[in-house]
């Protein structure tokens, strides 16, 4: 059969963010896959160098909507390490609580997306309904559903009241019950299992050499989790159980995520029960001494790395972010080649890709576009246009 090339993306129902894949097909089988990245490049690393440390927290938080807390925590950890600040224990615990809530909402979102990608709409609707419980808790704690704005250098900005802690503990029971139900679906439902098993194989050796991280690596039998390898914040004080699986395929990745959900519920309970009293933040000078460090954090999608170099001023010398998706994209070709076209959406979804995290550096504007307008011009254009339609909006100031 002759080969055909099909473009998937930048706009395609299977991808929730703009990223482009060129697949070469022989019939229904993918023989070659090529990813084109960079559509979401926003120049965040460069922008960080011209903003102070406090501003950078909020900028880095906007790298990604889902794992926003992970990126900002990773950054403040690095700043605190260079500034040699001891963060209050309560702040560490609150960071960990938000981090785990974030992991729960990210994994529940993923379970839904996985259902959607293989045409199992019911799972999609159920998982997203239950995710609302976590979103409500997060909104109650921080006022926001995403981009919580909890972190600051030296601690956290908001305390969690005892009533909210009660509420979280109450909701946990519902969530555990629902997650057990999803575990049953994942391991029992024949059509769903049939779509996941043996799909997107990535052997342990490949995962190691291509540098896979997070649930992808753990589903290939690599017991790597920053919370265990290099404990940060509250994780150096509480016990943590790593979830791995040896299916090496999408089913394994699903199982790992579902198990991580259960582990997160357990961690949340421990964190809340042992939440120490005390201040939530210490004051840190605006100027951070010269230094460099590498901060690691286990985001829901895998390991987040942040390299920070400071020069003694209020602004960093260099900030480098390596989001988990970029590490996992290196192995996407291995997973796609030889698969069916029908498996493309679930294989890509299985790395839980966050392309916004991956491309994060430049503002695109090459000056070739003749229709660029500034605000004033846009306003005048709009007034002109409405005049032509017989409406004079120029009076409105």
């Amino acid at each position: 059969m002759s080969q055909i090339k099909i473009p998937i993306g930048p706009q395609h129902p299977a991808l929730h963010e703009p990223e482009s894949f060129n697949l070469t097909l022989e019939g229904e089988i993918i023989v070659e896959a090529e990813a084109k990245l960079g559509y979401n490049h926003r120049g965040i690393e460069k922008a960080c160098e011209s903003r102070n440390f406090i501003q950078d927290i909020y900028l880095l938080e906007r790298i990604c909507g889902i794992c926003s807390h992970s990126h900002s925590t990773c950054f403040v950890q690095a700043v605190e390490e260079i500034a040699a600040v001891e963060v209050p224990l309560r702040a560490k615990y609150i960071r960990a609580i938000i981090g785990e809530l974030e992991r729960i909402h990210s994994h529940l979102l993923w379970v839904g997306v996985a259902g959607h990608e293989v045409g199992f709409e019911t799972l999609f609707m159920y998982a997203w309904r239950d995710r609302e419980i976590v979103m409500d808790i997060l909104a109650w704690i921080s006022g926001n559903r995403v981009n919580y704005g909890m972190n600051t250098v030296g601690g956290v900005r908001r305390d969690i009241s005892p009533e909210i802690l009660e509420q979280i503990l109450g909701s946990l029971n519902t969530l555990i019950e629902r997650t057990e139900y999803y575990t049953r679906i994942v391991t029992d439902e024949p059509t769903f299992m049939g779509r996941l098993r043996g799909v997107g194989k990535l052997s342990k050796e490949q995962a190691l050499s291509l540098g896979a991280v997070g649930p992808i690596a753990r589903a290939s039998g690599i017991a790597r989790d920053v919370r265990q390898d290099d404990p940060y914040g509250a994780f150096s004080e509480i016990e943590f159980r790593i979830s791995t699986d040896d299916h090496e395929d999408v089913l394994g990745r699903t199982v790992v995520r579902v198990h991580e959900l259960m582990e997160s519920y357990r961690l949340l309970r421990t964190l809340i029960e042992n939440l120490p009293e005390g201040p939530i933040a210490v004051k840190v000078p605006r100027k951070i001494p010269v230094g460099e460090t590498l901060s690691r954090l286990e985001a829901p999608r895998g390991e987040d790395i942040l390299y920070l170099k400071t020069n003694g001023t209020e602004m960093p010398e260099r900030v480098k972010v390596r989001a988990p998706t970029l590490a996992n994209l290196a192995s996407i070709r291995e997973m796609l080649c030889g698969a069916y076209l029908a498996d493309f959406p679930i294989i890509v979804a299985a790395i839980d890709p966050c392309f916004s995290c991956t491309d994060r550096m430049i503002r695109v504007g090459n000056g070739k576009n003749d229709n660029l307008m500034n605000w004033q011009q846009l306003r005048e254009y709009s007034i002109e246009w409405h005049k032509k339609q017989g409406l004079d909006l120029g009076q409105i100031k």
């Binding site: 709409e121 059509t191 076209l341 029908a342 498996d343």
Partner: protein, 314 residues
């Protein structure tokens, strides 16, 4: 039967107008039930009509490289084939508007035409996703068609007639024999999922893989007509199954018979929705394997049972 009545039967009730209205109601039942199963609220009763009217009012965009006449004609072909098939199906009694000895086979092949128009529509669209979708359409046709025909053969064999009205009339006399066909009914229910391109066999228009399959390039009025054709197909298939496997409307009083018809078709629609709710979409090769390895042999077993029943009990 005089001409006026025939025309009324054909075009108004139980013909085209009624069928179109009823298919919209069935679509609503399907969508509402699907939503309630998923713990959503679901659309109001007039949503299918509103969708249809909205699509009719939209601009028609035809790809440059496509054959324009064919592009416009294909949806009409699809609708015409389904509407013609409906004429041979009994509604409130055991007699269809038209009926002759071999109409089961005719209906079966008329119901194949929409799939072929989907294929042609996709192929004619000259877009990659459409082409992939249409190839899948045909591949799928080859996997469900045989089990479906085999399962329909069972009751026909038992009744000793190829006429749908004849089969209904036969079961009216021997209702206890309906039970014999239960396996065939289940096979047919699964196979029509493939025919109607619904989950778990919605492979030709798998949104996350190939956008909208054959219909990717379609929009506005033409898409509206295609969607209408799919809705009509669902009602016609449900009516066919209810006439062949559930004994039609038992030849009761027309009003009661009509209520039975509605109940039975809605029952089949509900079962189809239930399938859609509890399953994920399978892959093409999984479907082929399933249809040929399991569905077709089971249908053959049903045939064997029917032959034995016919030999010993009739």
């Amino acid at each position: 039967m005089n001409v006026q009545w025939t025309l009324l039967y054909m075009f108004v009730f139980p013909g085209f107008l009624f069928l179109i209205a009823y298919s919209m109601i069935c679509e609503w039942v399907d969508r509402k039930l699907f939503a309630r199963f998923q713990n959503r609220i679901g659309p109001p009763w007039f949503q299918p009509e509103a969708d249809f009217i909205k699509l009719l009012s939209k601009e028609e965009i035809i790809p440059d490289a496509a054959d324009k006449v064919m592009f416009r004609l294909l949806p009409i072909f699809a609708i015409a084939a389904v509407l013609t098939a409906f004429l041979y199906l009994p509604i409130w009694n055991t007699n269809a508007i038209y009926s002759f000895k071999g109409d089961l086979i005719v209906v079966f092949y008329l119901l194949t035409i929409p799939t072929l128009t989907f294929f042609l529509a996709g192929w004619n669209s000259t877009s990659l996703f459409s082409a992939l979708g249409s190839v899948r359409n045909l591949t799928q046709l080859f996997s469900y068609e045989v089990p479906l025909l085999l399962s329909l053969l069972g009751p026909a064999l038992l009744a000793g007639t190829w006429s749908i009205s004849g089969i209904s009339a036969f079961f009216l006399k021997r209702p206890e024999l309906l039970v014999v066909n239960i396996i065939g009914f289940l096979v047919a229910l699964v196979a029509v999922q493939g025919k109607l391109e619904r989950v778990p066999f919605d492979i030709p228009d798998a949104e996350t893989e190939i956008v909208a399959g054959s219909f990717t390039e379609f929009g506005g009025r033409l898409l509206g007509l295609f969607r209408l054709a799919t809705d009509l197909e669902m009602v016609v298939v449900a009516t066919l199954l209810s006439a062949v496997f559930l004994g039609g409307s038992f030849g009761l009083h027309p009003v009661l018979g009509f209520i039975i018809f509605v109940v039975k078709t809605l029952f089949i629609v509900c079962i189809l929705t239930l399938f859609k709710t509890v399953m994920a979409r399978v892959r093409m090769e999984q479907m082929m394997k399933f249809c040929w390895k399991y569905l077709a042999p089971i249908a053959l077993i049903q045939l064997l049972i029917n032959i034995l029943v016919k030999a010993y009990f009739l």
